[in-house]
Symmetry: C2
Subunit: 463 residues, 2 copies
């Protein structure tokens, strides 16, 4: 059966300049949802790219916010795959730390450098090119394909829920392929079966008085001290959140999920490298670390400010202090309920002197069972495409609006993609390797051609 | 004996334009030690002012730093009064919140507005004018007078110790009048018998890794959290410092000192007004509040910073966090030893992950016994000059380099002056009342003419 793979891979390499051209086109326009830069034309440029490989495409703005680009191939086959991507990118700042301009893609040492190369235009381009490839090799696409390409992922997808509700009928599918993913430092493809939910808050401590000379600090309340005590009460040094009710709705991972963690021992060296020497909160074994990282909620301090923070000394008793925190959620936790739980805690701890302000109500978590057929299909095709056994994460540590697919639309969802540990997502010199990009095209093609037979019989005939 | 007072007061009012002119001259040049603005000419301008009323004056720069202006009247009398003031002022920012320009003095509604009007050029001018007055009325000054006017008080007097050591012989005196002071909201003159010491530090939490995506916060150490736990361990919500050894050297106030607190009940309403509604750390009675404010050490958080503090949400796990803190000291506590005590605590709490950086080693506290003759002299003359019974504070809540006078030179020291609760020290629209200024001239004159007889016989003949 390796014959088809060999043929596809040869053809991909023959077509590599064309496929890199599709990627280059997507990377050549800015589409920064946070600032709006380039967003006026971005939706149409994405539609043109989808149409260029024969997809029917349409730009929707009926949900409010930036356009959702819809792409479709209705082949009247007995299976439908929904593909979620986003065309918006993070701001390119700081510009002076880019080796080449962020919206002028450049290939150096076998890598494509540009903002969005990995997150998320590279994934989108690879998926589009797979259709082009299959049409060329087989003359047909043996599966219904639906592309949902939104423009607000980097700002929390505030309008995607409205879109999904409005277009629920059109969004039916057997499975969904999510936007993110990549390879481990040792080259093994990573597959995510879920994401955490998120809630972003500010804590504000304010006194009804102006800043005072710090000598008053002996007897007058200090909001910076109040905030420090509150933060210490929100999270122990070990990471545990000692807030009454915080863990009430946490879904304990089932045995299938826990057994996935056993297979992820290889992640330990990467985790230790990221955390730095003595950088982990606890000295737990790797399986417990992964459990905390992927399957348990947490509260993180993203920012703190109070009083004087310039050079030298200023003796001031500040009148206010604030913290920015994000709360990562696991399945069954609802952002609204978590907010209320934290509000009660803060009220109890501070007697109302600290208030909670939701900055972004975020979304709940999502997770697909490892027993869903799409998980095996994506895993087996990834192994064939990347020549390496995949690492299957029950969830990413990060977040995304995947619950709209899994919980609202009831479609199982997995993520796989073309990034790697050098990709600098959200940072200067974002990049992907050309090899990974082309293998992403192959992976996608293998998912498509095996989809219907695999769903019908459990056999993937083209592997 | 009221006759002499009446005569002096009449003459002060006749001379008021001239005395306001002396003040105006001092206020008309900037002398901002923090930025250096105007400091090139400030010392000479102060020397000229001292000379204009017949003092011998000299500008010293042999201690390093900004000039100390020395003024002297050696009258070969049997008593010497040392007078400490400073001619440097706080930066005038924010300029747009001044009603009139900070270095263009303006009189409105019976008040003189300018940077330094209260802190500390008003006190200096009133003291200088008292000599002019006495020379005019009596033809002589019945006391040796020494003015020590430094230019670095607002930046922590880093070079004053060197000056005092170099000129120790010339600095001998029976008593010293310190720079600050004023009247309570009800018009009672306030006399301070000491100041707290101070030590200014930064706490730095740094991880050996860059900023990370906040999803890592589930297992990777967060320096902002580390810092919050440390701050909570440095100071309880009640204000107590639960640091081993912190209170070891605290001098418990003696009965004389404690009995002064009994007389300060009137301060309660002012304290409550400053703190704002529910703004006090504890609901202790006023005597205990005053004990904490004036006679006990404390740790205050002046500033906090970590991570992202801009608009909206950024999901980041910061790599560093810092706090600025000041420690107010009471007699017998040494800044160096307190620093070591805190260093040990921080090491124990954080395992070396937070470091202490001294920003300003400050100075120890100073206090003069209420039984020193100068206390009674300054108190009785204040009552006569301001027509109101003084409030005697065993210490100010704030700090100053007074220990050089009391502990190094062994000269008893008290503070009394011309400010009030509307003076906006260190803030825009700093001001003093013209009435208070002129009464300050009277107060100083009464101290001088009563000094020698009071020290000789315990009688103040001109009251």
């Amino acid at each position: 059966m390796g014959e088809v793979i060999d043929k596809l891979w040869r053809r991909i390499n023959e077509n590599s300049q064309r496929y890199l051209g599709v990627l280059n086109d997507l990377l050549s326009f800015p589409s920064v949802s946070a600032t709006g830069e380039g967003m006026d034309i971005a939706g149409d440029r994405v539609r043109e790219t989808l149409e260029s490989v024969g997809l029917r495409s349409e730009v929707y703005i009926d949900h409010g916010g930036y356009p959702v680009v819809w792409g479709e191939l209705r082949e009247e086959r007995h299976g439908t795959l929904l593909i979620y991507n986003h065309y918006d990118v993070q701001p390119p700042d700081p510009l002076d730390r880019w080796t080449s301009p962020p919206f002028t893609p450049q290939i150096r040492d076998g890598r494509v450098f540009a903002r969005g190369a990995c997150d998320n235009k590279g994934n989108l381009a690879a998926r589009i090119c797979a259709l082009d490839l299959l049409m060329e090799v087989f003359g047909e696409i043996p599966l219904n394909i639906k592309f949902l390409v939104e423009g607000e992922e980097e700002i929390g997808s505030p309008n995607l829920k409205t879109f999904v509700e409005k277009h629920k009928e059109n969004l039916s599918a057997d499975a969904c392929l999510w936007e993110m993913g990549g390879s481990s430092p040792s080259g093994r493809p990573i597959i995510y079966l879920g994401v955490k939910g998120i809630l972003y808050l500010e804590l504000h401590a304010r006194e009804k008085r102006p800043d005072l000379h710090s000598s008053w600090g002996a007897i007058v309340r200090n909001p910076a001290l109040e905030l420090a005590h509150l933060i210490a009460s929100l999270r122990e040094k070990s990471g545990r959140v000692p807030v009454q009710g915080f863990y009430d709705d946490v879904e304990e991972p089932d045995d299938d999920t826990l057994s996935l963690l056993e297979e992820l021992r290889e992640a330990e060296s990467e985790i230790r490298a990221v955390a730095g020497e003595d950088g982990l909160m606890t000295d737990k074994p790797i399986k417990d670390l992964l459990n905390d990282l992927l399957l348990h909620p947490c509260i993180n301090i993203c920012g703190l400010h109070s009083g004087y923070t310039g050079q030298g000394s200023k003796t001031v008793l500040p009148s206010s202090a604030f913290a920015k925190i994000d709360v990562r959620l696991v399945p069954r936790m609802r952002p609204e309920k978590v907010l209320e739980t934290l509000r009660r805690h803060v009220e109890k701890e501070t007697g109302g002197r600290v208030t909670i302000k939701p900055v972004d109500m975020g979304y709940p978590a999502a997770r697909t069972s490892p027993r869903e057929p799409v998980v095996e299909l994506v895993t087996r095709t990834a192994e064939a495409a990347f020549n390496s056994k995949p690492l299957i994460y029950p969830s990413a540590a990060g977040s995304g609006p995947m619950y709209l697919i899994t919980d609202y639309l009831k479609i199982p969802c997995v993520a796989a993609g073309i990034g790697d540990h050098l990709s600098n997502i959200h940072a200067p010199d974002e990049s992907i390797s050309v090899e990974n990009y082309l293998r992403g095209v192959l992976h996608m093609a293998l998912i498509i051609i095996n989809f219907v037979p695999f769903y019908r019989s459990g056999v993937a005939p083209y592997l």
